[in-house]
Symmetry: C2
Subunit: 412 residues, 2 copies
Amino acid sequence: MKGNIIVGQSGGPTAVINSSLAGVYKTAKDRGVTKVYGMLNGIQGFLEERYIDLSDYIKNDLDIELLKRTPSAFLGACRYKLPDIHKDKELYEKIFEILNKLDIECFVYIGGNDSMDTIKKLSDYAIVTGQTQRFIGVPKTIDNDLALTDHTPGYGSAAKYIGTATKEVIRDSMGLVYNKGLVTVIEVMGRNAGWLTGATALAKGEDCEGPDFIYLPEVIFDLDNFLEKVGKQLAKKKSVIAAVSEGIKIADGRYVCELSANVEYVDAFGHKQLTGAANYLANRLSEKFGCKTRTVELSTLQRSAAHLSSLVDINEAFQVGGAAVKAADEGDTGKMVVIDRVSDDPYQCSTGIYDVHKISNVEKVVPREWITKDGSNVTEEFLDYVRPLIQGDLAPITVGGIPRHLTMIRHK
Amino acid sequence: MKGNIIVGQSGGPTAVINSSLAGVYKTAKDRGVTKVYGMLNGIQGFLEERYIDLSDYIKNDLDIELLKRTPSAFLGACRYKLPDIHKDKELYEKIFEILNKLDIECFVYIGGNDSMDTIKKLSDYAIVTGQTQRFIGVPKTIDNDLALTDHTPGYGSAAKYIGTATKEVIRDSMGLVYNKGLVTVIEVMGRNAGWLTGATALAKGEDCEGPDFIYLPEVIFDLDNFLEKVGKQLAKKKSVIAAVSEGIKIADGRYVCELSANVEYVDAFGHKQLTGAANYLANRLSEKFGCKTRTVELSTLQRSAAHLSSLVDINEAFQVGGAAVKAADEGDTGKMVVIDRVSDDPYQCSTGIYDVHKISNVEKVVPREWITKDGSNVTEEFLDYVRPLIQGDLAPITVGGIPRHLTMIRHK
């Protein structure tokens, strides 16, 4: 590659999004690219000409190792949707002006569904206007809802955290016994896809029964049936655990969290920010059974707990970053790197590359057959799919007992 | 020791309460004790004659290692307060009848302030009635509020988790930028003592600014001042972090969480269960500044995240368990094992033993001089005290990517 590279990060944080950034940087440098720029806050910052030369921040191999272990976009991210090309040609002209000024040959964007839309539009514009820059997408989302790739980097670490935290919450809930029992409702991220919520089942093993009930957004949530099931379980055991997706909906299409009128925020893509399903259900349970209830919202840690990242996930995130540079170098554009599962047992994956037009704006949900018939748990097939993705650890590099990250603050 | 030992666990879970149990068991066996019984759900289960022979569950050295890494009371705990002796002599007679039946020479109780009250009453009763059993307390509480001991086992691991999680939440909050800024309010356990909330400052380092504000329950909370401070900070940076104790109170004595009428539960010791301070403050901030807000309740994971335990803490928990058996063997009763800090740098501690009458029902809070003058952060002295307690890791023993615990389920 004769020109330079610019890389950006977009959308919600993951624990390994910077491992992909490290993969882009390392592979670009190994291939002799002169400058690897990082746009700050994605395409939004790029439009304001806010970018850095990554070599000012990544100075040696130890920095690469720290970057792999640093959660949340090192470069900052954005939720910015490019307008359709015909609606704002000037904006596209401005983007390409900046690209030309920096002598960019390859534009890499690490993100989810919405980010792939950016890659699609920019590569379309380049082709239509006869320009030669290449645009490659690198998948990233804890939600695991991107089509065509077996799974997305970020999901494995989130699943490992969720499985581990669920197991520890279950242990905690068994410490004290309450007269009328205790129901713990764990709320997990995932608006339309239950990949994250299903990962609570990873807590199950020879030493732990796992959650009693797991409700994914793929199945309509029946409140009466839920209350009845939990009631029956409370008669059998003193501590009952239910894991629910933030995105579970009742038959009339309303989110469970909307029943308690707790919808706060709509993002630039028109997505509602959902929270409160667990609290609503806990209140209903406590009213009906007089039991003690507790809610655990796994909060932003489920996407940022890099101290518990999966080694498989970190490595794959690094690989897809590198594969993006390789693909651009070989002339690809308008493509996203994907992960193909070559074998289940032993687990083996390789990277591939697909046309981004086939990927963007399609959400991959959990297949119905991986959810139990009554809709209150996941099957062994689901677990067989997830387990390989959570294997191994990359020990945090700690200073004073706390994980060290690579951040821009160090260099101020 | 010619007789047997019985050991129980009481009060809220910690990540290392079972390391103390392992220390009791191992030391007892090394000293040739025939039977080590475990009472199920503490003194409450003991009164129902629910107990196990621990050797049925701890079968080898690997089980000891698993037990050290298993959070929340292996034996189950209780919140049961013994009545005063003169109010229910029959109850005490029943307890000693069971002790005699099992040929118990030493009764070890692992717990916090309330549990030391149990040790005090039982040892008083034995002395008054001329009986020879020995009663020893082993300190345990994430709250670190026990008097006379430098710190309590369980606190170091909680502090390590809180510091790490806070740092990851701070990283996460910097990923996306919001027009009017983002304020993240982290709510931490600790009703009257700010040891846990202060531990959020551990996030601070060369690579992280740490929380902007930290509010401990030791200082009266001034809402207007808080809003003003956060407003000024929002003018300077796009992501502001405030950590607050669940127990912060305003000048008239009301808890901040009570301002939103969210008090749910009073336990057997008359303690209110507090939650909701962060939500209340986030709502006020969002009203006043139109900023985006996020609340992170560290939930029960702050006391149960054994996957991130401090090695120092695990080892000290093990040592105080062993020291309890040794003390009883040497004739002590009505005592609690304590940790004495011999040296700060290098950190060195040894175990000691104190009269439980001096310990029970006294809450140790954070010294005022370890909190900044304006009451919105902790000082370097606070951090110097905490840092040695969070050092080192004991890698989880994982099966299928998830930590394995020692639980009774395995043996069903």
